[in-house]
């Protein structure tokens, strides 16, 4: 088994009285693409925010490459890249300006930031729009930029929170290909989604999360095998079987 890169232990987080995340534990290995699959409100974003040091857990801890998010969050931030579920962009600035700015924020110098920005824009098929204002971009293009920014500084561990939500098939395929390319280069990825075919296609292992708890965790193949022949059933069926509800409301 590969090296344990991220270890989450008994994470809890409540908002007011509501338990958003209720005792989540899992481990991500180096080079793995780990999926967090769950319906709306399952606690995916809250979990990823705790992993990425944006939110403090009420209890429990996470270590990334041995650094605790509680005690050594600066070291954790130097390792990770984070693509929020919502578009996190300056609409009035150009794609390039956005990328260079966040590039500088992860510690690149001006030249490096620009070179990397152009490389990533190329990869996203948006190099010709580098100087265009984000406000003028389509939803799918914004999504691609949102992801591209998370790649600035070549992080060792990438958190992607529903990077394909609500976009056109072309942008979606572009994002899939990008992620597969990153995996091939050995990047470790945590990927959340509520599309089961995505988890099926991209993830080495999948944790199914519901009501703030992980209710199953295995490879897509093994999860499906539990309820029938893996090529006949889907992860959707697995979720239905486990919860009695459909994954998509």
């Amino acid at each position: 088994m590969a090296e344990e890169f991220l270890v989450a232990k008994e994470l809890h987080k409540s908002f007011n009285e509501h338990k958003a995340v209720d005792g989540v534990s899992f481990t991500i290995h180096k080079g793995e693409n780990f999926g967090l699959l769950g319906p709306n409100g399952a606690g995916k974003t809250t979990t990823i925010r705790m992993l990425s040091t944006v939110l403090k857990p009420d209890s429990g801890d996470v270590t990334v490459a041995g650094h605790s998010v509680k005690h050594d969050s600066d070291a954790v931030r130097d390792i990770i890249g984070f693509c929020p579920q919502e578009l996190a962009l300056y609409e009035e600035l150009s794609a390039l300006d956005n990328m260079v700015f966040f590039g500088r924020m992860v510690g690149l110098d001006g030249k490096e930031a620009k070179a990397q920005a152009m490389k990533h824009l190329e990869m996203m098929g948006l190099a010709n729009r580098a100087k265009g204002k984000i406000a003028k971009f389509s939803g799918g293009m914004k999504r691609r930029i949102n992801l591209a920014i998370a790649l600035m500084g070549d992080p060792e561990l990438l958190f992607l929170d529903e990077p394909t939500v609500g976009i056109d098939p072309q942008s979606r395929n572009n994002i899939y290909e990008t992620i597969e390319g990153l995996q091939a280069k050995g990047m470790t990825i945590l990927y959340t989604t509520h599309y089961m075919e995505e988890a099926n296609r991209l993830c080495d292992r999948v944790a199914i999360i519901d009501g703030g708890k992980i209710i199953a965790l295995d490879t897509p193949h093994n999860l499906k095998s539990q309820i029938g022949p893996p090529d006949k059933v889907t992860l959707e069926d697995v979720f239905l079987k486990l919860t009695g509800r459909s994954l998509r409301d």
Partner: protein
């Protein structure tokens, strides 16, 4: 070092965003000047109710120079002049009916005409310190202007005598020359106004000396406070979340946001002073350094307020409305719309709880009453105090408020 570059790039990014925002540019820069221009030229700043009341006494016989000065002051329109006789005025001060008056001595005209000099007497209630300062400032102004008139008159006569146009002992002819100069009949202007600008040391006292600092404080604060919306937008756009997960340290994020806000304020004060001095004949007083430091502290305090406000509210809309409300309440309370020293004592005391009150008091001391650096140190310290308080709350609230 890394932190400083982070702060710098965050601030720079904010300025870039600011530059793309036409509405904000208008609000920050054009709007304040429209306001100042309007108020300075239309004299709305000195409507009946808010006019400075000045009590004056002349011990001269009717027709003396002092009466011309009082008339001229009256028509200058910046204040309401109430003429009393000496004993009556003195009694009124003792009874605390008025807080003070300026008295012209019986030999005022004679002292001026003979060049022997003269002295104005300022009588005030010992407790009314700001009124004493106001009257003292006024007396200085009168003294310097009368001095100027005298210089002009003397120079004119000497010139005429030198050129043999009039004889040195022809007092009737001299009188004829002096009269229009002192009466300012040349251009039909009031005596006090008469050509004083042309004499090197004498400065024209203008309403802009308190109008502009007042609006500077108001608009710098207003601009910064409204900028809290931009900071909230950073949060609602989730770009703050992204920054929090990047290698930027929390202090650098706060520092960058603060610096960006303060940089906009610095641009504002730079424009205020440049335009004020060039277009409105603004006089920074004997200590320009104190005026500049006071302006910068006003910017810092306002930026700290903006960051604090952003960490206290949830939405951009509430940031905007609280910013407008706070600015519109604090500005008049803090003497941005009228000088504090004309207000009743309790309102002057109330002004002390606003940062605006300290800032405007400092500017008034410097620019109206000719105070020096040392005299405005308390005002500077008070502004630092407000800035520290606001920053402390901002730092304390920052992380808990960072994520929606």
């Amino acid at each position: 070092m890394k932190r400083l570059t982070h702060i710098w790039f965050i601030a720079l990014k904010d300025l870039k965003l600011f530059a793309t925002d036409r509405g904000a540019l208008f609000f920050f820069i054009l709007f304040p000047f429209l306001f100042i221009t309007l108020f300075t030229f239309m004299d709305i700043g000195a409507t009946e109710d808010t006019r400075l009341q000045l009590h004056m006494v002349s011990q001269e016989a009717e027709g003396g120079l002092s009466y011309q000065i009082i008339d001229a002051l009256e028509s200058a329109g910046d204040w309401e002049i109430i003429v009393m006789d000496y004993d009556e005025a003195y009694q009124a001060v003792e009874d605390k009916e008025i807080s003070g008056f300026v008295a012209f001595p019986a030999d005022f005209t004679e002292g001026i005409m003979t060049g022997a000099g003269t002295e104005l007497e300022v009588v005030t209630d010992a407790e009314a310190t700001s009124r004493r300062a106001a009257l003292y400032g006024l007396s200085q102004t009168i003294a310097s202007r009368v001095g100027a008139q005298y210089v002009i008159a003397n120079a004119t006569i000497e010139l005429l005598i030198e050129q043999g146009i009039i004889a040195p002992d022809d007092s009737a002819a001299i009188e004829q020359v002096i009269q229009p100069i002192l009466a300012g009949q040349g251009g039909g202007e009031a005596f006090i106004e008469y050509r004083t600008e042309k004499v090197g040391e004498v400065e024209e006292e203008s309403a802009s000396n308190w109008v502009i600092p007042g609006y500077l404080v108001m608009f710098v604060f207003f601009g910064a406070a409204v900028g809290a919306e931009t900071i909230v937008r950073e949060r609602q756009n989730h770009t703050l979340e992204r920054l929090l997960a990047s290698s930027v340290r929390q202090e650098a994020i706060l520092g960058g946001i603060f610096t960006g806000t303060a940089a906009k304020g610095l641009i504002q004060i730079l424009l205020f002073w440049v335009v004020g001095i060039l277009a409105f004949n603004l006089d920074l007083g004997p200590s320009p350094a104190a005026g500049i430091i006071l302006s910068i502290l006003t910017v810092i305090m306002s930026a700290a307020f903006a960051v604090m406000l952003a960490t206290l509210v949830k939405t951009q809309r509430s940031a905007g409305s609280i910013a407008v409300l706070a600015s519109l309440v604090l500005a008049p309370l803090g003497g941005c719309w009228w000088p504090l020293f004309i207000l009743p004592q309790w309102m002057q005391a109330l002004a002390k709880i606003t940062p605006h009150g300290w800032a405007t008091t400092g500017f008034n001391k410097l620019m109206l009453f000719g105070a020096d650096f040392g005299a405005v140190v308390p005002e500077m310290l008070a502004l630092v105090g407000f800035a520290v308080l606001f920053s402390a709350i901002a730092v304390w609230r920052f992380r808990t408020s960072a994520v929606e």
